[in-house]
Amino acid sequence: MLSVREVTTAYQGLVAISAISIEVQKGEIVCVAGANGAGKSTLLKSIAGAERPRSGTVTFDGKRLDGMAQHHITATGIAYVPENRRLFPRLSVRDNLRLGSYLYRGDANREGPLDLVFQLFPRLAERLEQRAETLSGGEQQMLAIGRALMTRPRLLMLDEPSQGIMPKLVDEIFQAVKRIRDAGMTVLIVEQRMAECLEIADRAYILQTGRVLMQGPAAEIRGNPDVRKAYLGL
Amino acid sequence: QTSEVVIGVIYPFSGGSAQQGVDAQKAYETALEVINKDTDFDLPLAKGEGLPGLGGAKVRLVFADHQADPQKGRAEAERLITQEKVSAIIGTYQSAVAVTVSQICERYQVPFVSADNSSPSLHRRGLKYYFRAAPHDEMYSAAMFDFFDAMKKKGTKIETLSLFHEDTIFGTDSGNAQAKIAGERAYKIVTDIKYRANSPSLSAEVQQLKSANADVLMPSSYTTDGILLVKTMAELGYKPNAIVAQDAGFSEKALYDAVGDKLEGVISRGTFSLDLAQKRPMVGKINEMFKTRSGKDFNDLTSRQFMGLIILADAISRAKSTDGEKIRDALAATDIPGEQTIMPWKRVKFDEMGQNNDADPVLLQYIGGKFVTIFPPQAAIAEAVWPMK
């Protein structure tokens, strides 16, 4: 479904990822892990069009994405929840969610995914009129995912969704991710909480200093002794 | 022998009063044509080409933009003198700029002709190189009151006045002069409104004028405010008995194009009148020359600018030199009879402060789309229509 080939992205000449290739199949949950600064976020940004790759190709369902404007990429069915969430701080929760369905204005069923969102994150339903900036950190993360779901993505990309989330909810979020997949979406997720993430993931990639260090089925990665030592802290 | 004499012309060529600068440019170019070409007018330098005193040397003008800023005026004057080597400077429309330009001229001993500044304080600063052939606001205002006195003698009721003047140097000076003379001659000022130039609205001001409803409304306003004033008066249903304006906006074509129909019978002071052409045909011809350049008739400002340059060039010619001091002396010795001007003046002769006290102002009334001279009697060609309309 998504295929990233030999993508290199740099910031002002500083190469952050170099010649990375990854694949995501429809219906999969793919986990990307790696140390700080390994280039995980950069990879997602390069796919979402937030950064322009210097070379390499990104194709999504046979469509070339690299070089496409970011909002067009969203329209092709990729939703991206960045690390810092990028909510609209002074708009209400409701407006943030409504904006998620901007692409479907005029559509009678535009608020369709809202049920799923409230089902996943009932807290949001209680906070509809509150400004996004006054939400607690965890609530903000929920809203960011909720907003992304409103764009009815076929591929959902999450950058460290568990960051700042209470343990109970971390599990819920991972469960939610599973349910999101079960609702027909594909998920590409960057996580530091590898243990939890690998539990739900089908496959995983491990990045190191801008390159793919390791890849394979989640279970395999989880069993790898190096990984256990270096990333799972076991 | 010099083949060319350079004169600096400093005006606002950009900003809010750029129009005056551009009009002035046309007036000076007209004067230049009269000076440099052989024309058949009874004006100094008209006959023959160039300046006879300097072997027919031609005059060249250098224009500079002061943007209504005294500091820039100063810098431009200095540049014209030191780099363009001008022999004299003429300008400046805004009196505030004339202050600094004349100071620089004084310091470089280059004559400055204040062609169209009307602030009375200008010539009272003890400057040796300052000359003004035209009247200043006190003279103008005095003429207005002379006119009121004359009208009163004829039985017209003129007791109360409303002053309406803008808040820059021109309006303030004019308002002060009028208030002073009104006091001396026992006219009652019922309202004295100083307003902010280029205000977006004059409703409140006009409302006060209307409440006061004086016998005469005396505005001192530039074109923009003049237009707005007249429109606002119409909108608020204020029809004054008479308007006697301190020139400026009220001698501008733009104002009459905009609101002329509401101004039948308005009186403005001035120092020029086109109807002088009836007595002095060359006035009409020179006006035509100006009109082909600018598309406008001479008005109070452009006529003064034209005349100023003629007077200055004449002095240079008589000085037979481009030396500042010699030109200054020649200017001081100027004595041009009124008939050899396009103005209704008695003559051009400067007092020791550089002011020509024989520049008689006139009062003009706007009748049937034209200005006719109504005062003083010797210049008048018609009786004043009072009240207006």
Partner: protein
């Protein structure tokens, strides 16, 4: 000796929403205390009240034996309250070292001293290599470390850490844990908010659990994680199994 920090019946309301209700906690000198609780429980709000961003709607705050309830934030910093922000607030157009110098200036009026102190703190926090980089060019994890460094530079008695160890791989987190210990060993009391139990629980001496703005449970970490109230409100069943 009295507690370093004490809050007495502190309330904070935002319109109809009660973010803190009747919170009374105390933190002793030299402790590392974990403040945990569900998202939106009011932890960051309590930090804001302690640091003096806003006065509590009701209640009082004592620091180092002094009532600081209405003292402005800057003065509290001078008294020894250092804090980090959950949503990082770096001085983006300044370099890392300059960011830290701002903090160091609280106790060092001589520039040279402040600069030396700042370098020392950067060494201590492992940011020395990034000293001359603009704060805006740091990655999120580094920015959080900068928050800590800046706060440390003020030489606080009490350091409030709001989720500074978030987004680290477990290995990296261990470095962070070591850093917090070092901080405590340097004599600084730490009150920290963190959601990653694997990190906090081994680290803290005592844990306070906030829920819906109220103190739910307080005690030794081992006891707290077993508390059914905490499990149901915060940790979730899975954690219960693991714990």
């Amino acid at each position: 000796m009295t507690a370093l920090l004490e809050t007495r019946g502190v309330w904070q309301r935002f319109g109809g929403l009660v973010a803190n209700s009747d919170v009374s906690i105390s933190v002793g000198r030299g402790e590392i205390v974990g403040l945990i609780g569900p998202n939106g429980a009011g932890k960051s709000t309590l930090f804001n009240l302690i640091a003096g961003v806003l006065p509590p709607t009701q209640g009082s705050i004592l620091f180092d034996g002094e009532d600081v309830t209405h003292m402005p934030a800057a003065e509290r910093c001078q008294r020894g309250v250092g804090r980090t922000f959950q949503v990082v607030k770096s001085f983006e157009t300044m370099t890392v070292i300059d960011n830290v110098i701002v903090g160091a200036l609280v106790r060092n009026t001589v520039m040279r001293e402040a600069r030396r102190k700042a370098h020392e703190v950067l060494e201590f926090t492992g940011l020395a290599a990034r000293a001359d980089v603009l704060a805006s060019d740091l990655v999120p994890a580094e920015k959080r470390r900068l928050e800590v460094a800046r706060a440390l530079a003020t030489e606080p008695k009490l350091l409030l850490l709001d989720e500074v160890l978030t987004g680290l791989t477990p290995t990296e987190a261990q470095t962070g844990v070591a850093l917090v210990r070092k901080v405590r060993d340097a004599g600084i009391t730490v009150l920290m908010v963190e959601h990653v139990m694997e990190i906090v629980m081994p680290l803290v001496d005592r844990a306070i659990v906030l829920d819906l703005g109220k103190v739910l449970v307080e005690g030794k970490p081992a006891d707290v994680v077993r508390d059914p109230k905490v499990i149901s409100a915060y940790l979730g069943d899975r954690h219960a199994q693991r714990a």
